[in-house]
């Protein structure tokens, strides 16, 4: 069951990377990067348990926090540099 979960995570990561390369606007790319980070957290957790690592949960928690902070920071940057909305 762990192997099936990891295969499903890898398949969804491939689809997300396709959207990140094809995304027409910058927000598609930011969303794809955010989803990819969440899938990375899941792959670390499931793969760490399957391979018998000792402290994979700490690494997964750190990746989740870093992913959230990075997404908010990138969104602030693009929101500040965006042009004024049409009235």
């Amino acid at each position: 069951m762990l192997l099936a979960t990891i295969l499903a995570l890898f398949a969804s990561m491939i689809l997300i990377v396709l959207r990140a390369f094809a995304g027409p606007s910058v927000y598609d790319r930011v969303l794809a990067v955010n989803m990819f980070g969440t899938k990375t957290v899941l792959v670390i957790a499931v793969g760490g348990h399957a391979l018998g690592w000792t402290s994979f949960a700490d690494v997964a928690l750190l990746y989740a926090m870093l992913n959230f902070v990075a997404t908010i920071a990138v969104l602030r940057f693009f929101e500040a540099t965006a042009k004024e909305p049409p009235a």
């Binding site: 069951m1 499903a8 398949a11 997300i16 598609d28 969440t38 899941l42 348990h49 926090m65």
Partner: protein, 111 residues
């Protein structure tokens, strides 16, 4: 008892993987930024804690499962926040959601 825990964790892992793949397909196929945000946000917010719950059931009552529970709680809080900020930033930068023009005209002529 152990068999019951195994079945429960397998069910959680299967449901979480299904939601992850569905969210990725929705991210790839839907026509609009806001549709993609919708698909990504909802599937991710339920699928990630399901996979982590199934994993915590397999790990057993240790400190590791508590940390996995913390990861699930953090993602439950942070993922809707991130997608909300993303949709707000997209709306502020001039993106508009796709609407059905004909339905819009009918509703505006009625009012």
């Amino acid at each position: 008892m152990s068999l019951l825990v195994d079945i429960l964790s397998g069910l959680c892992l299967l449901a979480g993987s299904f939601l992850c793949i569905t969210g990725a397909i929705g991210l790839l196929r839907l026509p609009d930024v806001f549709c993609r945000l919708h698909a990504a946000s909802l599937n991710e917010t339920l699928g990630t804690p399901l996979i982590l719950l199934g994993l915590a059931l397999q790990v057993g009552p240790t400190l590791t499962s508590v940390k996995l529970f913390l990861v699930a709680v953090f993602i439950l809080a942070s993922n809707p926040t991130a997608t909300h900020a993303m949709s707000r930033a997209a709306l502020h930068s001039g993106e508009r959601p796709l609407v059905d023009e004909k339905a819009q005209e009918i509703s505006s002529s009625k009012s």
